[in-house]
Amino acid sequence: MNDLWTTFSAAIGQLLSGDPELWGIVGVSFSVSVSALLIALLPALTTGFMLAYFRFPGRWAAISVLNSLLAVPTVVVGLVLYMLLSRAGPLGDLNLLFTRPAMIIGQILLCFPLLVAMSLSAFQAADHRVLETAKTLGANPWQAFVTLLFEVRFALLAAVVAAFGRIIAEVGSAMMVGGNILHHTRNITTAIALETGKGEFVQGVALGIVLLVLALVLNVSLGWMQSYSRVLRHGA
């Protein structure tokens, strides 16, 4: 018990001291996950919109595949990407293995299905009168789409928050295609795994606290957005 408390206090101390190595690792995590999210966002929203509003052959198959991808373990995504990017793999010439772009690609593959599934459900739940009202008041198709995005913005923000939560906390793909190289590809989760393996818990606990605080902030925001969105739909 005493050891736990000592480790926890040392971890808080390390966080507050502004330790450059520790905050550098946090920086890698954020830069990789934010980049992956920004790259995946527009294609995912467009896919969600198309699946919600257009009927075409294979639509249900596409939705089923996307829903199945939600459950794929991060380590499997890492494994597939590793095989593609390794020297002997079909994309080996790109020399991306053990780089941040490889980690970003892995996280894009992880957050894309989640963003599509949640945006699809947001668009399906949207009032059908939104697009009709926008069009009848003179909006062109792009303006009508932007209006729809605005009307379901809280549900879409919830999708973004949930997707960010999934990729910032994943370890499997980041470890396999990032390689856990200090100052380059070591992020919060791979650093925790490494420090724990070495029996040095202080930095691991400090990074764990960052993840926990982040999870708390994300979940509170998610809850707030969902309840605000419900209030708007059904009245206070």
Binding site: D127, R129, V130, E132, T133, A134, K135, T136, L137, G138, A139, N140, Q143, T147, F150, E151, L232, G235
Partner: protein
């Protein structure tokens, strides 16, 4: 502006909902469209407004001499008005923003016309049923439409609100906007109409 419908057929699956050979609506018209539930009144209005394509047939907007494209707007108002998740003023401004037109005076006038100036910064979803309908009309007014198509505009409104909508519609008509409204029962609004159309059993009959 003249709205012309030619050889319109609307089908659902194997069944014809309605077939209309020829129909026209002009800006000076005030038309009451009636008929039993489920005959396709809303569908017909959406086809006329360009929100829905008929299974076959053509809808044409024929401008009067010197009439610009913007003066040919045909606006459809839902039975339950959809208001954007913005304040009242922003809802009125919406159509002008889509045209990239800034005209605060016009917005002020439309708000005053609908008696909503004091509520202009209130979130639209907080309005009552009558206020929502007035906002929908103000939102249409700023666009100077040629025609307004109102789908059951008086459902769930009290008599005071119906009287207010009646005044507003009469005023719009005086300003040169034609209207078509669908209503089940005869009321103050239907009395404003100079033409009556009956849609029943897949056919549209013009009644005198």
């Amino acid at each position: 502006m003249r709205l012309e419908l030619e050889h319109i057929c609307q089908r659902y699956g194997e069944q014809n909902l309605f077939v209309i050979d020829k129909l026209q609506l002009i800006s000076s018209d005030a038309v009451h469209l009636h008929g039993p539930n489920g005959v396709g009144k809303s569908t017909l209005m959406k086809i006329m407004a360009g929100l829905q394509k008929p299974t076959s047939g053509e809808v044409r907007r024929i401008p009067m001499v010197g009439e610009s494209l913007l003066q040919q707007a045909v606006i459809y108002l839902h039975q339950n008005t959809y208001l954007f998740d913005m304040d009242v003023r922003s809802n009125v401004e919406y159509g002008l923003r889509m045209r990239r037109e800034k005209n605060p005076n016009k917005v002020d006038q439309a708000l005053a016309w609908a008696g909503l100036e004091h509520l202009q910064y209130r979130q639209a979803h907080l309005l009552s049923g009558g206020e929502r309908q007035r906002l929908a009309l103000a939102r249409a007014l700023v666009l100077d439409p040629a025609l307004i198509l109102l789908d059951e505009p008086t459902s769930n409104l009290d008599t005071g609100s119906v009287a207010r909508i009646e005044e507003m519609l009469l005023d719009l008509h005086r300003r040169g906007t034609g209207f078509l409204l669908s209503c089940h029962q005869d009321n103050a609004l239907t009395k404003l109409c100079n033409k009556h159309w009956l849609l029943d059993q897949g056919k549209l009959t013009i009644q005198v």
